[in-house]
């Protein structure tokens, strides 16, 4: 049994700390004082089939106990047939800037986003680029430095063919493969988590 001090940590930090700890041990007690934390940890327990218990530990402070069971790690499929607890995800990039407000900042933020992807514990299964996002995958793009290691690590990169054609970039693809809307929709509908740096 491991004790975790998550006092003054706001959600989702207690969730992340719990998930991490339960990879190594079967049972944890986590001390929290974010009033959202007990309920969020209860949801985590329900999702992951952990035993859950909570007791007050003073004013606005709780001790939550989570324990792995035989069923833990075997989440029930949802009605759509997806495994909601799986860590797999795809990334959709639909522009060459991130966010709205300033284009220079947005472009640099997107660089930072793609680099940060390379440092994630779990890499995306796929990166799908469309509209302005296709500019990332063509010759001369300074995003290639970070996209290449992702591709080498097994991330499949796709760029929308119609979009490449629109921008006159169809012959300039430097990484990944050209896709079409049927395939893109198919990939997106089969994935239960899509990360999009809008």
């Amino acid at each position: 049994m491991k004790e975790i001090d998550a006092l003054d940590k706001v959600c989702p930090a207690p969730i992340i700390m719990s998930k991490k700890a339960l990879k190594d041990v079967d049972e944890i007690e986590i001390l929290v004082n974010d009033d959202m934390a007990p309920e969020n940890l209860r949801k985590l327990a329900a999702q992951q089939n952990y035993e859950y218990g909570v007791k007050e530990n003073g004013e606005n402070e709780w001790k939550v106990r989570l324990k792995r069971t035989d069923k833990s790690g075997q989440p029930e499929p949802t009605k759509a047939g997806f495994n909601e607890q799986g860590e797999s995800y795809i990334v959709v990039i639909n522009t060459d800037v991130m966010g709205h407000g300033d284009e220079t900042l947005g472009r640099n933020l997107l660089h930072s986003f793609v680099y940060s992807l390379t440092e994630q514990d779990v890499l995306p299964d796929k990166i799908i680029c469309y509209n302005g996002g296709v500019k990332l995958v063509v010759e001369g793009s300074d995003f290639l430095t970070d996209l290449k290691p992702l591709a080498e690590a097994g991330v499949d990169i796709y760029a929308c063919g119609a979009c490449l054609d629109f921008f006159g970039l169809k012959d300039k693809v430097a990484i990944g493969s050209i896709s079409n809307m049927y395939e893109i929709v198919d990939m997106m509908r089969k994935q239960n988590r899509i990360v999009r740096p809008d």
């Binding site: 640099n108 930072s112 680099y115 940060s116 440092e119 994630q120 514990d121 970070d146």
Partner: protein, 88 residues
């Protein structure tokens, strides 16, 4: 062992972007902008990653152009994780 690189932090996001744009004129410096890692700063700043073996040339260029930076770190990347030590 892992891959070693340099990381330069700045006082403002504007300074980081301007410095990266200047260094971009020299592709051999392999500059790229990244979010300042949480292990270095709790804030949400931006930093410039660069080829550490080119540090002296980079510092000279920045000094010649009147750029200032906050700190330099030596980064070491093993797998998907990078660790940092203060360089100067």
């Amino acid at each position: 062992m892992g891959h070693t690189f340099g990381l330069m932090t700045f006082n403002t996001t504007h300074e980081a972007i301007s410095a990266k744009d200047l260094l971009k004129e020299h592709p051999e410096f392999t500059p790229s902008i990244i979010s300042t890692p949480g292990t270095i700063s709790a804030g949400c700043g931006m930093s410039v990653r660069f080829d550490y073996t080119k540090k002296q040339d980079i510092l000279k260029l920045l000094a010649d152009k009147g750029f200032t930076y906050k700190k330099i770190y030596i980064g070491n990347r093993v797998g998907v994780k990078s660790t940092y030590e203060v360089d100067q």
